[in-house]
Each structure stands twice: as structure tokens, then as C-alpha cells.
Amino acid sequence: MGSRWQAIAMKKRAPATRIRIRLRAIACIFALVACPSEVIGSIPPSQFHFKNVVKPGHASEPGGWKAAQVIITLGDRYGVATCKIEVGVPERNKEDIIGDQLAQQAAAGAADEAARIVLGRGPNLSAVRCRQFIDEMDGLLSRAILGAKVSSFTIAGLQPTTWP
């Protein structure tokens, strides 16, 4: 019985969630269009779904690699650029074991900062904006997590999320 009610509640919730996401996206784009000099909205850490792609080796061989892919739309009144970004971090580096939460927070922080930098530069072609965004994010994230890399998509089989 409980699960039936749960199923009904889920069915009701699903369209509402979709509408909320659409409204949020529209609000975000409007906000960016209205205020070109100020970037509003930030990507939540949970948007980065890290998946292990290289297992950390045996105890004698540290390393490992996990990656997340996100399709991020950057917009302002000059235009919208949709960038496919892949974030890779080691499972372990010289300083730390890199848990998913740490990786997510660092990636989201670097993405927000990179978006501010790139949108603050004014109009540009979308391909140029994506290149600049990935370059900036790569620099910021590799400073926060030793060994991290940001690029366009290179790994097949990951499931990209979309933001907003």
C-alpha cells in the first residue's frame, strides 16, 4: 500500500520537478541577459557525477582516476555558449585522498569562477568562450586539486548531466 502511494506521489512530483528545472533555467538565462556585468546563478556540486574510470592500483601503486561530464550553458545578452566539459581528478594525490564530495565542491567552485571570468570578458564566439571556460576552469581546478584536469569530452560511457 505504502509503495502505491509512494508511486502516485512520485508521478505527481516528476512533472513539477521538470517545471521547476525549466523555470530555474529560464530565470538564470534572464538574469544573465539582464545583468551582463554580473553573473548570477551557480552550478551545484551535485551536478558533477564522478565515476571511477581507472581504479586506484594495488597498495603499492597509488593513483586512480575519476571523471564527470557536464554540458554547461553559459549565457549573457551577447549570446549563449553550450560547452561540453569533462572534469577528471585523481582518486589520490600527494596531499589527499580525493573523495567525491571534495571533487564535486572543487569542480563547482572552479566552474563558477571560470564562468565569471569568461563572461566578464564580453562578447565572443561560442567556441572561443568554451575554450576560454575550459582553460580557466582547468587552471583553477588543478590548483585546488593536484593532478586534476578539465577538457572537452574524451571518455566514452560517462553519462553527462546538463546545466542549467
Partner: protein, 193 residues
């Protein structure tokens, strides 16, 4: 027979076989990824793994045995780079103040390069990595070991950083727009750190 460093012309001919000319990766992504050159690059990486992967593991194990498992990190990423990559941290490294000797071995040409990276963290946060291509006293001994072992096990020869500074303006990569790439970016990686 002693290995010799290929000429600049040979190196340029090589990279042109593995990267499409005149295509910006972000503007023409599909065309770039589906090009015969990109396919050739993927095949070269796979071949390197098949043919030299075991030698690479043995080289790495030697350093793990000598310096300890916590000091040696294999950060080879064939999806992104055209090289084997590992770093050996000096025994004097401390938390927030690390010094690494780094070895890159190209998968396109039998050449390798070593450099030193200082990774420092201050109270306000991490500093940008300090990358030095010349010899540094902190890593000199490890660098000589890396050079010797790369030559013996990977059958490669050390190349001078200056030789890699030749521009290849017709090629773009993830982090190099058209007009910005050099032989260093194409034979090894476009993220030097």
C-alpha cells in the same frame, strides 16, 4: 645502437600525421574527432600501451621500490595526452610543500623529457605550480635516474626543452587554439605542470 633525437623536420612531419590541420577542436569538434589523424593518435596510444606498457610498469616499480609507494604517482592519461607521465616526489617533500621530478615519455616518437614541479600551499590557498625545465638541486639526482631508466627501459632519448618550442600554428588541441600549439604540446601534453 645509440638513439638520436629526431630533427625538427621529422618531428613536424610526425605531429602532422596525428593531429588534423586547420581545424579548431571547439569549432569543428565532430570533424576533428572523426579525422584520420585523431584515429591515428588513438591507435598510437594503444600501440604504446601494448608494446611499452610492461616496460613502463617495471620502470615505475623500480622507483616505488627506491622511494616508497607514497612518493611515486602514475598520472598517464592517454585520453588526453600523448605521453606516459609519472612523478617522483623528493623525500624532503612535506604537506603543502611538495617537490616532484616529472618524467614524460612520448608515445609518438622515442623521446622523453624531465622537469621539476614545486607544488606549494600557503594559508590563503594553493599557489600555481612552479614548473622548471632546467636542473634543480632538489631533483637533480632523481632526474638523472629517470633519464637513465627511461633510456634503458622505454628505449627513448632525452630531448631538450628548447627543441620543443617550435610553433605548429595549424594545429589546435584542448588547451591550444590555432596558432598557439608547439611541438611540446603535441608530442607530450598541452598541460605542463
Amino acid at each position: 645502437m645509440a638513439l638520436t633525437v629526431p630533427s625538427t623536420e621529422e618531428l613536424l612531419r610526425t605531429v602532422r600525421r596525428y593531429y588534423p590541420a586547420g581545424l579548431d577542436l571547439y569549432e569543428h569538434e565532430e570533424e576533428y574527432r572523426n579525422s584520420s589523424e585523431t584515429r591515428a593518435l588513438k591507435e598510437a596510444r594503444q600501440r604504446a600501451f601494448d608494446e611499452r606498457g610492461q616496460a613502463w610498469l617495471e620502470l615505475k616499480q623500480g622507483f616505488i621500490d627506491r622511494y616508497g609507494k607514497d612518493q611515486v604517482f602514475d598520472w598517464t592519461h592517454f585520453g588526453l595526452d600523448a605521453c606516459f607521465h609519472f612523478r617522483v616526489y623528493t623525500p624532503s617533500s612535506t604537506r603543502g610543500n611538495n617537490v616532484a621530478a616529472v618524467l614524460f615519455v612520448s608515445v609518438l616518437v622515442p623521446i622523453h623529457i624531465m622537469f621539476t614541479v614545486f607544488e606549494r600551499r600557503v594559508e590563503s590557498g594553493p599557489l600555481p605550480a612552479g614548473v622548471f625545465m632546467g636542473l634543480k638541486p632538489e631533483t637533480e639526482a632523481i632526474t638523472h635516474e629517470l633519464d637513465r631508466e627511461a633510456g634503458q627501459r622505454m628505449q627513448s632519448v632525452r630531448i631538450d626543452w628548447q627543441l620543443l618550442q617550435v610553433a605548429v600554428p595549424e594545429i589546435s588541441t584542448n588547451h591550444r587554439a590555432l596558432g598557439k600549439a608547439t611541438l611540446a604540446d603535441l608530442l607530450f601534453t598541452d598541460t605542463w605542470r
